[in-house]
Symmetry: C3
Subunit: 351 residues, 3 copies
Amino acid sequence: MKFVRNAWYVAGWASEFDRKLRRFTILGDDIVMYRGEDDKVCALRDRCPHRQLPLSKGHLMAGDAIQCGYHGLTFDKAGACIRAPGQDNIPKTSVHAYPVHEKNRIVWIWMGEAALADPDDIFSLPEFADPQWHAHQGDALHLKSHYLNVAENLVDPAHVSFVHPTTLGNAASEDVPVHADVDGDVIVAWRWIRDAPPVGFFQKFGGFSGNVDRWHYYYLHLPSIAVIDFGSADAALNLPEDKRHEGVRVFALHFLTPVDETNTIDRWMHLRNVAIDDENVSQSMDAMFRVAFNEDKEILEAIQLEELKPQHHRPVRLAIDKGPNVYRSRIEKLLHAEEAATEGWAQAETG
Amino acid sequence: MKFVRNAWYVAGWASEFDRKLRRFTILGDDIVMYRGEDDKVCALRDRCPHRQLPLSKGHLMAGDAIQCGYHGLTFDKAGACIRAPGQDNIPKTSVHAYPVHEKNRIVWIWMGEAALADPDDIFSLPEFADPQWHAHQGDALHLKSHYLNVAENLVDPAHVSFVHPTTLGNAASEDVPVHADVDGDVIVAWRWIRDAPPVGFFQKFGGFSGNVDRWHYYYLHLPSIAVIDFGSADAALNLPEDKRHEGVRVFALHFLTPVDETNTIDRWMHLRNVAIDDENVSQSMDAMFRVAFNEDKEILEAIQLEELKPQHHRPVRLAIDKGPNVYRSRIEKLLHAEEAATEGWAQAETG
Amino acid sequence: MKFVRNAWYVAGWASEFDRKLRRFTILGDDIVMYRGEDDKVCALRDRCPHRQLPLSKGHLMAGDAIQCGYHGLTFDKAGACIRAPGQDNIPKTSVHAYPVHEKNRIVWIWMGEAALADPDDIFSLPEFADPQWHAHQGDALHLKSHYLNVAENLVDPAHVSFVHPTTLGNAASEDVPVHADVDGDVIVAWRWIRDAPPVGFFQKFGGFSGNVDRWHYYYLHLPSIAVIDFGSADAALNLPEDKRHEGVRVFALHFLTPVDETNTIDRWMHLRNVAIDDENVSQSMDAMFRVAFNEDKEILEAIQLEELKPQHHRPVRLAIDKGPNVYRSRIEKLLHAEEAATEGWAQAETG
């Protein structure tokens, strides 16, 4: 399984972790996670090196150690073996401990070289701390599809007209061209639909009835976090691009966690600059998001099934594919860079 | 997957098609089928060449075009791309359109080279148009077995004594030898059981109680259509082979559609020269056929499971295998001929 | 699939066999088994050599012959073909007949070279015939795990402290070292826990409340039968090893039948030197065994799932692994010996 490993991924909402040993599968790795006595989340490879029993089937002991449920081999939260029942000497063995960091009520996990893990690199958004904005966590959507299929859908403004006709898109945007650009580790694809009827979402939450200017900015933070900045403003204002905060504006966030080659978890949430602290609006928006994201799920799972079948033709590429094309090519580059670095280490070790 | 492709297969009963987009899988190909505005059935490869979404998940548009449900790429019923939202030029892409023809309330599809498709080659039987005969459609039986297993069962008179002891066979025929012959694309295997008690089917529908002459003629039209001509007449008449129309005679038809390597659909129906237009008899015969064909299904699915396991011995061949042996050898020849033709084209193209 | 074939395996409890044709899968072989007219159990390879239908889907005929359910090919209980309907000559074909022997209300089957099968080699235990002992059959536990995983658990005294803390083990034994030895085809691993609180099982069935001496002797009869001799005696007696019969003593027997690479049946029973003929105690012990053996099942099935995943590290070995280590190395030797013998025969045949 090829995944970008030197990155912070979302392991879960903070609320998903407690003193119970739970198994999470991320990038194909099985990981046991739990909160330590200091409330910090611990993450160990979920397989005892003795007889391979998942440690999550064992017991959490004093001092946050895990005792294997088969023969009692015990590991501290840093992964070091600290007890082997029936013998005095401690065997030279350990399990991998993954760097973990909690931020914005989200638990982040570093899947690559532990030495490279820097919490300052974790995804951030100033609006989390801005009192003019309201942040609301949604659901964890499980998709039976490779994360690249899911991610490219999140840097693709063109699909909304066809997949989400009752919520996020409508026919007015069908033929509006897409722009795309890259800024460091962020790809952005966007388009404005000027002076057109509002989509269902903004009829409901913007209170618009007449024509609006509508924007969709899809920011894809490599490898797999999306911020979709979308909103509307009265068409009479002729809002310039950099004045979007004057309109009704929503950031839909998608934190994609690749589970394995054919499964992805999309933890989604939103921030908005209207209806601050109004829980009813939060619930109501979630309901509309659920409709839209289940429409995506149906498409993305159907695509996955086709990809597993024999391929006879190269896929045709369209003008609207700018965002997905840039995205996939950047992921390839990251994978090659990690591969080269691994080979470099291997040579240094044996050379 | 190796299948004979240059042939008309049954896609479905005419009643299975309407204005809804439906996916059918035939010879491993996924195909979207629907009735056009002129009521004729259309069949396109069910995969958008852009991002591989099945077209059956899209929308049927005016003029019988299909719009993909992901980004709106649109194809006419001949498979040509006619619209790509977000760009003016139409990409040079298409999906395969399968020749389709409706005949005898059955929809036929040509799975090979479209240029070779000739509706005159579709299976025909004069009795469909004969007022002395009654035609009645039965069910679509799904079997988890390779179509060759199912087809050989339909050119095999010997199994009825053991598999269908209460309906189509009985002990009287256990040791009666089987004859087999070939006439063009039709293989026939047959036997007569003279002066013996009637089987359950003809006790019920022929009204026989005393001894009868009974015949089973299994006509296998390559690659996968069977006509089983079976019937009985009072043994006192000593009916010659060519006077079968004077007895109570039934044609059981089986249209086999290979789905993939381990699945087959058997759409079965019958024609009979008694009880014309008597719907009660039709239903009553269907009930008896269902008993018999489910007996076959149990056998053929069990065999499939064994075939998927390691094979340690060459199967033993028996005298009763004449029909199946000829059938499998003819299928091999057809496959080799198609393979050679394909290589010929490839050489002509590159040479 | 590599299994030790020249051995008597348990096919089932005697009560599992009657005049019905039943399929059993043992070492990956499908076998049809049934009681003959003389009440002796017959076992044939469950696949007709004609069209591969399982013979278990056919019919049991007079004289214990089986008639195939497809075309009536018939085999006697020694596996010889005795009838082929539709032809006078009997084809030269047969199905393998497995040697079978019934002993101690258990049906044993020989999976290797028939010429080597000697009923005197079947597992025996003098206590079966000793009126001072009571024998009671338990259940057939199906485990989704390779039999080597299950068997090594039965030559491993160390796991009971961690897997069975409420029944067969407790914390007092966690750090007591394990001894192991080999005597012919029997591996034994054992330990004594002296002067410690009794485990749940002997609190209940020994009536102990004060400290006891407790022993666990795990005898593994190659390839896959375990006798676990465990018991307790008042610590004040300071019971020597060879006076165990003076304590409360139980033999838990496990007859492992490898089904295939990932499935095993454990038919378990016990003998005891207390509460002779007391059916309530039998039921009550079974209830406690079920708790314990389901704890093993959970562990052993979880391990199997891990073993099917990619392996990145060599497993660490511990001091407590003496029994399992000896066991696996002896199994390897048996497999190599059988392989060499097979090659020897092959050379003798072709040389």
